[in-house]
């Protein structure tokens, strides 16, 4: 019981915590006050409880596929938000301080949605055990250990990002955001496959012997890179598609935004 609950909680917490630390580091990068994070987390947690409590009703929608479809939709929305966040970060890289309110809202919404989604799964899992007194301790301890590991990795990851040189920090964060976003596309595709909205093909490969998904490293790779031990062709295509689309758009934004050194020169001559 303990191990199962560690794995489940760790998976959800780690995903949200890594996204949170990347966005928090970027919030600090652009000089935004970190107050948005509290609002987003509070909103996400309340939302996850509400979502978890009404999971029965949600599941019954769309011919019993409501939960999968709603989750997939949320993943796609978070993907879109991360894309906008990435572009706004590039736009503000030389301290233009433009569209900061929009950036803040996108970050808050992304964190709130991620917390809502991951939190609701933990909530549903924990609620299922509330009457099983004998395994409750084990489940709670497992959840605590999972959450502890997840948050600790998130916190250390945040300090790692914040400790990077300013210029490198943005690039690293953008790469990570792109990878996380691509992982979201993959998960959303899998959810749609489960809902039979997309044809589920045979797995393209199976690397569970090499890197099991349930191991800590596997979990980390899942949260950061969207690692899946046995993905279908469609899932892999969605991953690569999401990755390429975001990378391309961010690259184009980067090219279009005047560089820092260029601005300095023009200021000198102004």
């Amino acid at each position: 019981m303990l191990l199962t609950s560690v794995i489940l909680v760790l998976r959800e917490v780690l995903e949200a915590a890594l996204l949170l630390s990347i966005l928090l580091a970027m919030s600090q990068y652009t000089g935004l006050a970190a107050r948005w994070i509290l609002m987003a987390l509070a909103g996400g947690i309340l939302g996850s409880i509400a979502y978890g409590a009404s999971i029965g009703t949600v599941s019954e929608m769309f011919e019993g596929m409501g939960q999968e479809l709603l989750n997939a939709a949320m993943q796609f929305v978070i993907y879109g938000l991360l894309l906008v966040i990435g572009m706004l970060l590039i736009w503000n890289r030389d301290g233009k301080q433009q569209y900061l309110k929009l950036l803040q809202w996108c970050m808050a919404l992304a964190v709130a949605l991620a917390t809502l989604r991951e939190g609701s799964e933990v909530y549903v899992y924990m609620i299922a055990f509330r009457h099983q007194i004998d395994s409750l301790q084990s489940v709670m301890l497992g959840a605590l250990i999972g959450a502890g590991i997840g948050f600790s990795i998130g916190a250390l990851f945040y300090y790692l990002l914040v400790g990077l040189a300013r210029k490198r920090r943005l690039v690293v964060a953008l790469v990570l955001l792109t990878l996380v976003a691509a992982g979201l596309c993959l998960q959303a595709t899998q959810l749609l496959e489960q809902a039979d909205w997309l044809p589920a093909g045979p797995p393209l490969w199976d690397s569970s012997a090499l890197l099991p998904e349930n191991s800590l490293v596997g979990q980390l790779c899942y949260a950061l890179l969207g690692y899946e031990a046995s993905p279908t062709l469609l899932a892999v295509s969605a991953y690569l598609g999401g990755l390429m689309l975001m990378a391309l758009l961010l690259w184009a934004t980067w090219m279009k935004t005047p560089s820092e050194s260029g601005r300095e020169v023009s200021n000198e001559f102004a």
């Binding site: 019981m1 303990l2 191990l3 560690v6 004998d134 395994s135 301790q137 084990s138 301890l141 605590l144 250990i145 502890g148 590991i149 948050f151 600790s152 990795i153 916190a155 250390l156 300090y159 914040v162 800590l216």
Partner: protein
Amino acid sequence: MKSIRIFLLIALLSTITLVNFIAALHGYRASMAEAERLFDRQVIGTALLLAAIPVNERAPLVVKENDQLAFQVWSRDGKLLMRSDNAPTDPIGDASDGFAESNFSGFRWRVYSHAADDGRSIRVAERVDLRFRLADEVVLQSVVPILLGLPVAGLLIWLVIGRGLASLRQLTGELRRKRAEDLTPLALASPPEELLPLVDSTNALLERLQASFDRERRFSADAAHELRTPIAAIQVHADNLANSLEHSGAEAPDSLWQLQQSIERMAHLVEQMLNLFRMTPEHYPARFESIDLHRMARDVVAKLYPAFARREQEIELRGQAAFIQGDRFALVLLLQNLLNNACKYTPEGGRITVAVNQREKCVELEVCDSGPGIPADARERVFERFYRVGGDRHESRVPGCGLGLSIVHHIAELHRARITLGTSPLGNAQLPGLMVTVCLPLPATDVPGRNAKVRLETNSEKNQDESRRA
């Protein structure tokens, strides 16, 4: 990073949590495996014990057992010789020796099959869920302390970091308490190795700053002092020249008059520079005595009266006798500077008032004129050395060196007095006038000190009120 303490707390706590929890997980896994092996050994032991018991082959024996364990003993020809009451009459598990898992009586069981030497087959089964729960309970007891220890670790880390950062806090406190003019070295009792370079370089910087201040002060004072004699000589020669021209009946050229004016201005400048450096609070050997400020103001007004009369200005002294503790020479200089300024900047025929009044906490000296005044945005700067409102192209075209108010400032600092600049009630729309208020603390409430700090106030609301009144 906003706070070193919070950073260290979070980073350390995260590291400890991560390492401890992963270790706890591994410990849990290993302990569970060990517990499984232990249970298995127990089951094997039970099977061996059963194999050693001789059994009556005619009637099957049913033995009462607890929920956790079940067993069967089969004869070589497949007859049930003995079983626990919770075991079925059908064979459990498979016939091969060793462990297997099977379902019966509504539970999942771990079954050990053992073939005895006499050909009997012994099957001992243990409920998987109970086994697991038992192991889980035992192992969890070793995990719980790690989790419970975490808040304690957090608290200890918080306190330890606080202790570790104490010297840093002490240093910042020391720096914060330091006043602008205080250039004495930082005194930190046994600073840690990491802070030593910072303390040392700060002290070296303070020392260099003090030395350069001293040098500058000494140079200016020496230069002014050295200039005094040649200027006096030039003054005498110019006067002699004027006298001899007068005696010879020739008319003195205009440039001679201008030369005399320039020499006078230069002598004044040098005198003011010397006064300024003499009045530096750190260096002035003040001798405080009880002084009637009103009487002193009367004497100074009387002394300067010819200057006011020359410009046909009306000067008025108000108030009553008010005693303070102060340095006579310095206060006379303060009054002279304020009155000279008032005389210089008030147009001919203008009005000037001097008032000395005893207030609740201080003796208030107020000098008002009907000159051009000082704009609100320049009031902070007029106390700087050589600063003149509007620079060299001073609107009043009054010659001056820009040191008068600096001297006043030094003297006020010496007496812990508060200076306020405002608009004069004597002014009008074109010439708002200047009101200088100096609040000198009463001797009973405040003993004047040499390291006193002066407070400058430019109370704009008050000024607006006054300009409305004016």
